[in-house]
């Protein structure tokens, strides 16, 4: 314990957005220092009796996703915003923490604040906490993602006025109404970027009889994905394995098709937002109606998603600046505020 404290002097306080798709680390006084996919490639060595070792983490591992030989497995240890594989998550965190302290000779032991989905259970939170402690963290704090996202987006959460934030991550979409540094209402739908990809894969298989991988689906989503019909129709050429012929085939998709493919997950998100607005106390609802909903998270980058929500709810919708890093930045700021104003500022566990 004492040693950890000494090592802590040489470590930076970190805020980690341990997301399903990407892990972002914000180091205090430095900004975002790491943004890598939450993917770990594990090598199983048959010569050592099947002993497992980490082959790659992050960007390198993501490139291996779906392209690995038999002895390597590229896995995503997070699912639906929570830990699916405890040991691998711990290894991944360890790698990331070391990576941001690369130049340090002494093994880092930082204070770590991790953002968790507000719908996560006690068991899931404990898993994240222990995983971070196992990765070398000196102290672990947990903060709920919408709060962190709101702080990161620059919402005036300390005011006695309702602020609504919709954070669409890789695994979950969090919608919350905040006021006076606290969460008044929160709802978490296990719909996110992964579900969008899944929907695209299913659509292509159904309509084109072709199988595409996750990476391809993600590329399609980023390039031509859209949540609201626009004037401009974009196209993309993709290659996949034709299920009938069994050979790779090339075909062209357009943005309207993707819009159609994404209807189901988008409806889920819209429903979560509408439910939140229904449950919001009227005073706070009026504040939200006047000022609008703020979108954060990687999902907010889906083209015209703000316009879709705007049309569905009739409220102004704003995409935060740099929505991908909002949660990590907000966590970092929460750490600073905790030091400045005391630990009970936010509902940090």
């Amino acid at each position: 314990m004492f040693l950890r404290r000494i090592r802590g002097i040489f470590s930076n306080d970190l805020s980690i957005d341990l997301g399903t798709a990407n892990t972002l680390i914000y180091a205090r006084d430095q900004g975002i220092v790491l943004n890598e996919p939450s993917v770990v490639a594990i090598r199983q060595d048959p010569s050592r009796g099947g002993q497992k070792s980490v082959a790659a983490v992050g960007d390198d591992a993501k490139q291996m996703l779906g392209r690995t030989p038999r002895n390597i497995t590229a896995i995503r240890p997070m699912k639906d915003g929570v830990i699916a594989d405890f040991t691998v998550t711990e290894k991944m965190l360890q790698y990331f923490i070391h990576k941001v302290h690369e130049s340090k000779i002494i093994r880092p032991s930082p204070r770590v604040l991790i953002c968790v989905p507000c719908g996560s259970t006690q068991v899931e939170r404990r898993a994240i906490r222990e995983s971070a402690a196992g990765a070398g963290a000196r102290e672990v704090y947990l903060i709920e993602e919408p709060m962190s996202a709101a702080i990161g987006a620059g919402l005036p959460v300390e005011e006695a006025r309702g602020s609504m934030v919709l954070d669409i991550g890789g695994g979950t979409s969090e919608v919350a109404i905040l006021s006076l540094n606290g969460i008044v209402y929160s709802n978490s739908a296990r719909i996110g970027g992964d579900k969008f990809d899944e929907a695209i894969i299913n659509y292509i298989r159904r309509n084109y009889g072709t199988l595409v991988g996750e990476s391809t689906a993600e590329r399609i989503k980023k390039e031509i994905g859209s949540a609201f019909p626009g004037n401009e129709v974009r196209e993309i050429e993709v290659k996949g394995r034709n299920l009938a012929e069994g050979v790779p085939r090339s075909f062209t998709l357009n943005s309207n098709e993707i819009l159609e493919a994404l209807q189901e997950p988008l409806t889920g998100i819209i429903n979560a937002v509408k439910k939140a607005l229904e449950q919001t106390p009227p005073e706070l609802g009026a504040d939200v109606a006047e000022r609008g909903i703020v979108l954060t998270g990687g999902g907010a980058l889906l083209r015209d998603l703000d316009r879709l929500i705007e049309e569905e709810t009739g409220l102004p919708v704003i995409v935060a600046e740099d929505p991908l890093t909002c949660v990590a930045r907000g966590g970092g700021r929460a750490l600073e505020l905790m030091d400045e104003r005391g630990g009970d500022l936010f509902t940090v566990e």
Partner: protein, 393 residues
Amino acid sequence: MSALPKHEADSVVSELPSPKGPGARLKSAREAKSLNLEKVAAQLHLSNEMLMSLEADDYGNLPARVFVVGYLRNYARLVGLPAEAITQALDHFLPVEQEPVIDHSKAAAGSRSGSSRATLGYDSGNLFIDSKRRSFPFFKFLLILGAAIAVFWGWKQGYFSDVLNGSQSISQQFKPVSQLPLQNAADSERGSETGSSQQNESDSFNQIALPESSAEIVDTEVEATDEALAELAPAPVAPDQLAPVPVIQVPVIQDPVIQDPVNSDLDINELDSVEPVSPVVTASVAVNESVETMQAPAAQEASVASAVAAGQPEIVLSLTETCWIKVRDSAGDFRMNNNYEAGTVKTFTGTPPYNILIGNVGGATLTIDGEPFDLSGYTKKNVARLVLDPGNL
């Protein structure tokens, strides 16, 4: 809410007279497209007042920066202006530094500068009780530092040695409990006196003026101490059980010494009050001495008389092995408190009685006027503890 075709938007941009504020630029673009304010407000889901404030670049009436940026971006998209250029222009009118959440230093200083919105943020920031929380460890540190200084100062001033002496004077006070029967009632007063320099005189005076009836008193006392011992004997002294012993003894012994009940009461009170301080040593010494007292009351009387006549007997401590010696006389003039090597010979030159502690008692010999003094009665686990008053032997 349909955006303009691209070529049309470009022509609008080129026709702009490039006014200063982003709101004004958007207003010009809107007017160029002949859109009225109400229609745009409805499309952006904003109130007319907010849109007018936005176009007038009056950001004091608008919510936090994040909202303003979002409104501008949506507005720019609607009228076909490049959103990035508009939001960059905003930086001149609404710098990022004015964000209430970001600017903690101003919040701490209670600064009122900036817009009304920002001020609201600062005010709510001041509501936190952070100053108390943060200063608490500082006060705790000050308290600990103060306590440490007080202890050090007390030690330098010898306060603690006074306390130790105090505990010795307590043992002196307690000693007369066993000696009371041999001495005059006035002797019991000696226990309550702290100035022990007069003790010898009072001792000699009392013993010389010993009344005729003292023999009877001694007899009754012998019985009384018998009772006291009978009470003590079956419980062979676990240290924690010894503590209450003096309290038991006092009323028993008090009976024969009814000459001065007031003083006796005083003694009892004092004993009660000092009981937690009085060490186990005093109890054992008291018992030992009362045993001696029983053995030869008459002989003691005689030796006391001779001692008075001959002056102070010579007490010599000689060591054959290395021993830990702690001796302090009643006046505080003579002290030994160290590890003494074999071969050391020390003559006690202070004012009796002496409070003596001898470690490794096997290697120490105590002689009084050349007569060896038997320490075995006072020894427990090779450590002798006793209060030695040669005048009373």
